[in-house]
Amino acid sequence: MATVLDAGEIGRALKRIAHEIVEHNHGLENVVLLGIPTRGAFLGTRIANFLGEIAGPVPVGTIDITLHRDDLRLRPPRPLLPTNIPTSGIEGKDVVLVDDVLFSGRTIRAALDALGEIGRPRSVQLAVLVDRGHRELPIRADYVGKNIPTSALETVRVHLSEIDNEDSVEIMAGA
């Protein structure tokens, strides 16, 4: 087991992502952040807080993708997680999805489907803390905290102090 990001590195990565979002979108006027629960939601809130310090308030919410998963039939029914779309909506907005780990890309595909049911954003961008490779669909992130090449047999664990005891990202051998 190896720690690839510690608390300090996580904080700096999120701050950098916040700056990149402002830069790429030329300001925050049209931006909406939607975190994918559970940990993506916490990261979304943290990035929104950083954006608030840098450039001003930005609407932030969560979008649960459970009902849009393509692997529902493989396991017993999963509990639904909270979905809170900000009142300003997503129609015509630049939506930035936030998640902790980008792996096969299926979670993001489900999120795109879910967004499509809600409305039509002007653009959808993706911010992730860790990109570990092994895509199974043509999905890519716009903002990446750290690229961590892994073997498919390894597991990446993200801990966030909001629900875990600490902030860290670890790689472990085996499932």
């Binding site: 649960d64 009902l67 849009h68 529902l72 039939r73 029914p77 639904l80 979905t83």
Partner: protein
């Protein structure tokens, strides 16, 4: 709850709360931004209604369609069902059609269980009302409605006081509600004339009162049950007038309730018999919310039964 939802006894308290939580999430996304969800795409839900009930059937149909399931309706009138085809033959036809879930409403108590136990079908069975036995999704939507009006109740109903009033003897809604409310920790009082209270009520975890006025003094929920005037022919009560004088929620009783008390009714209502028009339309009444909550709760139930790994149901020859 395994493959079927036949009775509230199929659910533990936490499973029931899980359904309510799922319905809450669905209300945020499905009532608001996302009208249709792909979750049950490719699944077939059959509404097998041997008793007429447009409201409940439409509620289940909406729930299934909002989850993108295919819906087939078998209703009593004008189908082979009304021509005397047996429950068994009807069920085997559905099996041949590939039903994943069968929502059954039937006039015989235990019909849903017979369908589930028989081995005639491998689908999940949801009891939408069997005779005078149970109506589990009604109790779940009633609990959901109560919780939405009393936001302090999250994972249990401890301390909640409920009065269930009316024809308990013949009410499947009453049986399911008593089971669910007591399971969640509420205190339930049954109010009815003695003729409409079952002999075995001593075994239920409830208080019994023949006095409507004193029983509703401090309750949080008054749940009125429909009374059929046909019961007069069997001498359950002498006249409609006497019944509503003793057990009708009239304006005087409505005004005696606490401000926070809510009035519920599973419908359809006999305005003027068990509930006055003023009571039905007052701001305390949550009857309309009960109807709309029905779709959400039934979506949650369908998701719980069909949204995950399909069970390898075995059908006996």
């Amino acid at each position: 709850m395994d493959r079927h939802l036949l009775s509230i006894n199929d659910l533990s308290a936490s499973e029931a709360i899980q359904i309510l939580n799922t319905a809450s999430e669905l209300s945020k996304i499905s009532d608001g931004p996302m009208k249709k969800l792909p979750t049950l795409r490719g699944r077939t839900v059959v509404n097998l209604f041997f008793e007429d009930s447009t409201r409940t059937r439409i509620s289940f149909e909406s729930a299934a369609k909002r989850l993108s399931a295919d819906v087939i309706n078998f209703s009593a009138k004008g189908s082979s069902v009304s021509k005397g085809e047996s429950l068994k033959d009807t069920a085997q036809t559905l099996q041949a059609m590939g039903a994943d879930a069968v929502v059954i409403r039937h006039g015989a108590s235990g019909a849903a269980q017979r369908l589930a136990d028989s081995g005639w079908i491998s689908a999940s069975v949801i009891n939408a009302g069997d005779g005078t036995h149970e109506h589990p999704t009604q109790a779940l939507l009633d609990a959901y409605t109560i919780r939405s009006r009393f936001p302090d109740l999250r994972s249990n109903f401890n301390g909640l006081k409920v009065a269930i009033v009316g024809d308990i003897l013949h009410s499947r809604v009453a049986r399911s509600n008593v089971l669910l409310l007591t399971k969640l920790g509420a205190k339930v009082t049954i109010v009815a004339p003695p003729t409409l209270i079952p002999v075995g009520i001593t075994d239920w975890d409830v208080d019994v009162s023949y006095d409507f006025d004193s029983a509703i003094k401090n309750v949080d929920v008054v749940m009125m049950l429909r009374v059929q005037s046909e019961r007069m022919a069997d001498s359950f009560f002498p006249s409609e007038r006497e019944y509503s004088r003793g057990y009708g929620l009239d304006i005087a009783r409505l005004n005696s309730l606490k401000d926070s008390t809510i009035v519920m009714h599973p419908g359809p209502m006999n305005r003027g018999l068990e509930i006055s028009a003023e009571s039905a339309d007052s701001h305390k009444s949550v009857v309309l919310a009960q109807v709309s909550n029905g779709v959400l709760v039934r979506m949650a139930v369908l998701y719980q039964l069909l949204g995950g790994a399909a069970f390898s149901g075995e059908v006996s020859a």
